[in-house]
């Protein structure tokens, strides 16, 4: 993922207060996650399916000895699924759950850039947004005239896994 790094270095708008976001593509939209949460980016690999799990949990992989669940973000958002291609990657992140921090891999169409985003440029998402639940959207930011959707990864994945666990137990 050297491209990611070089672009991060080339970005000259870095300031003390700005936060770095790794962005990725998903069905033509660009999403961002706090880069400090990203542990690594790896190519798509075969997963082991887990029974009795939500459909967006594709399975688990072996990440140097740890068993890490893989979430398909397209399915998580209810988008149409596509065949995984050469750009398909897994972004491995640290996600805070209800009880503990987990390592979770997220499948996205492709990684894009690393941007420095000034907190002042982050706008809250509109409450009602055409029937789309926006609780897991932390903010919308405008960079180079593009809209970035900055995700609250804990709400999106950490809590959903915990919630599902609670309902599964019930």
């Amino acid at each position: 993922m050297s491209t990611v790094k070089s672009k991060a270095g080339a970005d000259k708008s870095a300031t003390e207060t700005s936060e770095q976001y790794l962005t990725f593509m998903l069905a033509g939209e660009e999403y961002g996650v706090d880069i400090l949460r990203v542990q690594e980016i790896k190519g798509w690999d075969k997963v082991t399916r887990i029974p009795h799990s939500p459909d967006y949990v594709l399975g688990v992989i072996n990440l140097r000895g740890a068993v890490v669940p893989i979430v398909d973000l397209r399915r998580r958002f209810g988008l149409e699924t596509i065949e995984f291609g050469p750009t398909t990657v897994i972004i491995v992140m640290r996600v805070a759950g209800a009880r503990n921090e987990r390592t979770v891999g997220v499948v996205v169409d492709a990684v894009s850039e690393v941007y420095n985003v000034d907190p002042a440029d982050m706008k809250p998402p509109p409450d009602v947004c055409g029937g789309v639940d926006t609780v897991f959207v932390k903010a919308l930011a405008t960079i180079e005239e593009k809209m970035l959707i900055l995700l609250d990864i804990d709400r999106l994945i950490g809590n959903s896994i915990a919630e599902d666990a609670a309902t599964a137990a019930a």
């Binding site: 075969k46 997963v47 082991t48 399916r49 887990i50 029974p51 009795h52 799990s53 949990v57 399975g59 688990v60 992989i61 072996n62 140097r64 000895g65 740890a66 068993v67 890490v68 669940p69 503990n100 987990r102 390592t103 979770v104 896994i161 915990a162 599902d164 666990a165 599964a168």
Partner: protein, 706 residues
Amino acid sequence: MTLDLEMAEIAKVFFQESREGLDAMEAGLLTLGATADSENINTIFRAAHSIKGGAATFGFAAVADFTHGVETLLDEMRNGVRPVTAEAVQTLLQACDCLREMVAATEAEQPLDQGRIASLNLDITNILGERPHAAPAAPAVSAAPAIPAAPAAPAVPAAANGVVAAGWRINFEPVADLLRLRNEPTRMFAELKRMGDFTAHADVSRIPLLDALDPESCYLSWKIELAGQIPRAALDEVFDWVDSGCRLEIIPTGEAAPIAAGPAAAGTPAPALSTLPTEAIKPAAAKAEPAAGAAPLAAVPAQRPSGEPNSIRVATEKVDDIINLVGELLITQSMLCGFADGINPSDLDRLRQGLAQLARNTRELQESVMQIRMLPISFSFNRFPRIVHDLSRKLGKKVELKLVGEATELDKTVLEKINDPLVHLVRNALDHGLETPDQRLAAGKQETGTLELSAFHEGGNIIIEVRDDGAGLNKARILKKARERALIAPDQDLTDEQIDNLIFMPGFSTAEQLSDVSGRGVGMDVVRRNINDLGGHVQISSEEGLGSTIRIRLPLTLAILDGQLVRVGKEVYIISLLAIVETIQVTKQLVNTLVGRAQVFRLRDEYLPVVKLCDQFGIESDRRSAEDGLLVVVESDGRRVGVLVDDLLAQQQVVIKSLESNFRSVSGIAGATILGDGQVALIIDVPGLIGAAMKQSGAAVTAHAA
């Protein structure tokens, strides 16, 4: 003396070793019985002495004072002045309990149970008779709360605390071994310097010629003048750890404070002043101390007794890390083996050899690392003499407890979790199994019943048996009860074994009389569940009038398991070999359907429900019907089902990884592991699978019936 960080660290060791000391005391007291075995009393005494010394060093005055009373009593027993009575032993046992609580409370910096301490102190004082020095011990306890930072809280009884002189002359003649025992005179002198005006004169006359000189021996002795208002107790504290290894004289100089008349005179009847020369110079005492492995020498790691097996305290997390790493190593190794299999073998013989060696090494490494977690089951068994002693008194029964195979080792986690179920089983055996002496005599048995706890290894498992020679299970009563509670069908025929094992059903208790010992009907099913949770298995066999045997089979460790790899469609699952009864090639005529959908398999004289993993887990299988697959018969809780799989693959040891740490628990899945090819494979939770299958088939049948 204040506790700095380092001291707090050492204090932790003291707390741990105090507990071990208390365990040793308790074990000693329980075997004391009628015969006053002097070696045994010595062991108990030394344990008490170490606790007292340690407590005093750390300023835990309440613990030290309380132990002092205990120690005095023990000392008199040791010297034959006082007979060893059952009452005294009972009081001392209670004192052990009390001390255990005090140690725990002190560690947690919580207030002590002063009432209990005072009342036990009174008991001890009463046993000791009217002795002037024992009486003030009780008020001293309540006056000095156990705040670790409490300044100058010394070991010696209250009476000696008051001995404050204007100055002291100390003749300190250590034995040659002083340095070898890792005592450092300069440290002690530094401590003394802090107390007052310190002058020391070294006596060099004992130093031999150079060629006869042993560099590790101490040839020096010192005459120390110490000026200042210093309590005698503070000096005792400094010399506390060397008292058995030196000739020590502490003489007050200048104007002595009123009570300071003569510490030697005041100290003679009180063994607490063990720093006194009378005892200190006995070479036998000095030698006995390090030899006593059971007596932990609190807070002075240097004085470790030699000869006893050395043990280390390792944080479990660190060990777990190593276990993980070794698991990785195993994975790498099997990955390499996989490669080697695929390549042309013409010039790969050496690689193969190397790999074979790697395989051997990794396995050995894994085994030795696993050994770190292994503890002898005596850690658990050792609690039982006390439990049996107390319970049999309470129930008025005579019981002889036999412990067999205490050295059998098992995983620390398993050990910790098996303790409560074992206690429960032992209580049950005592309460319900064994009869009262009268009943036993009437039944033509010996008055004293036998309860045997044994442990041994059997093919990768550990077997723990609780055997009693009591009345055995009353099969008729069990059957009646089970029918009353509708646990079984009214006309169901059961084998003797099946009847016995009914007592593990939830909500079952045959006790006619409820007691506070056992018999609330929430016992045995919880025991069984706990054991099942550990991946184990419990069974009871009993003969009326002759006794019962409860047999617990447990895996040696929870970190790895012996697994059978099975294939269903494209997925590979692992079933614990422990759960597998047998594997059968299915033939058509042995499979029948039930209510159109559920399938059963006839295995000899039994019909087994067939669980299709493909349906349970929603995956594609090679075949949809049970008619030509392989049936893995698994058992849990005495229930058997046949699990239909497509193929049996290898059997191998797998390292169990948690699904929960990054994901969550999944029903039917006990965990995951990583196979040789780096892929994750799921481990099937057999009890969970059987439970789910039962629920489903029940629902299906009722749905059809409705």
